[in-house]
């Protein structure tokens, strides 16, 4: 009890300190808006957030995609999880609903990816929709079929990182700098990276929800 009071007091003090310092931030900071917009015509896309993600700070995003893959590797190393067979099918109404919702989620995900070049959207938003579709499929007992193709799944999970690295290496071979896209090709290369990244991000989120290395539901594969 005393401990909780002490921690509460310390957390309150921290809040006071943080609130005080945030309140006294400069009223009109310069930020990086001007620089981000100034370089936009050369970035290959016309939306500044996508330009930051895939061009100005591309290396940062590359490492974050690697973190996602590492998280899946970690989860899969720790636990095996049966990927539900046909007997795991959920309620019929849920199944019928999923047949309507999942294709539209995939469509909107692809749209998000494409619109990312001009407006809010991109690989992460599209990937989140893809992940949502996978979560729904898993909840409805229909995702097992997808997860059981383990070889294909591995390729798709790492595609984002591998394509990102390949584009980075190729651009280094041409321009001499990692992820420094050749003039005029930036837009295309960003779309290539984002397409692969979206698939990987969506599948990563789905695999995290599944919560373990998919094994056949009939047992036998549950090695610790």
């Amino acid at each position: 009890m005393i401990r909780k009071l002490f921690v509460g007091a310390a957390a309150s003090a921290l809040f006071g300190l943080l609130a005080w310092s945030l309140y006294h931030l400069p009223a009109h900071p310069a930020g990086l808006t001007v620089q981000a917009h100034a370089a936009l015509p050369r970035s290959g896309v016309s939306h500044p957030v996508t330009a930051v993600l895939l061009n100005y700070r591309g290396y940062d995003t590359l490492l974050e995609i690697a973190v996602l893959l590492l998280a899946v590797v970690g989860v899969w190393s720790l636990r095996a999880m049966p990927a539900g067979g046909p007997e795991a099918r959920g309620a019929p109404i849920l199944g019928a609903l999923l047949r309507l919702i999942v294709p539209s989620l995939l469509l909107v995900g692809g749209y998000m990816l494409w619109i990312g070049a001009f407006a809010p959207g991109g690989a992460f938003q599209g990937g989140a929709l893809l992940g949502g579709a996978l979560v729904l499929l898993l909840l409805g007992g229909l995702g097992g079929a997808l997860l059981r193709h383990i070889g294909l799944l591995r390729v798709a999970l790492s595609a984002g990182l591998l394509v990102f690295i390949a584009v980075g290496a190729l651009s280094m071979a041409v321009t001499g700098t990692l992820l420094q896209y050749p003039e005029g090709l930036a837009g295309t290369l960003i779309l290539v990276i984002e397409s692969a990244a979206m698939v990987s991000i969506g599948l990563t989120l789905g695999a995290m929800f599944h919560g373990g290395r998919p094994v056949r539901a009939e047992g036998a594969g549950d090695d610790e």
Binding site: V7, F15, A27, A36, P48, L53, F124
Partner: protein, 105 residues
């Protein structure tokens, strides 16, 4: 300019961070600790987005936006990994070497 509202977001972000820190230290249950970490992370995201809006209400700074965008996805994956680790702690019988480091009650 939506200056007062931005200020509110900054303060709420700081409050979420402090609340999360309290939860992280004060609760013994691993699941609560993981949720508390997520509350802390969301406090940071809120502060980031609010600082982006302070630059200009019409054209917010895109750099914090991009960092929050990737941060959210990374936080989700880190949470997933943490949950599986927590389950491993729960499944480890007490008395074994591994079982003494975590408490699941």
């Amino acid at each position: 300019m939506s200056e007062p509202l931005t200020g509110l977001y900054l303060i709420v972000g700081a409050a979420l961070f402090a609340l999360g820190l309290y939860g992280l230290i004060a609760s013994a249950h691993i699941l609560r600790k993981i949720i508390a970490l997520n509350v802390m992370a969301n406090g940071v995201f809120l502060v980031f987005v609010a600082t982006a809006a302070r630059v200009s209400a019409d054209a917010p700074d895109p750099v914090p936006h991009a960092m929050v965008l990737t941060g959210i996805v990374v936080a989700v994956c880190a949470t997933g990994l943490a949950l599986v680790l927590a389950d491993r702690v729960r499944a480890t019988p007490p008395g074994t070497d591994d079982g003494e480091h975590g408490r699941w009650t």
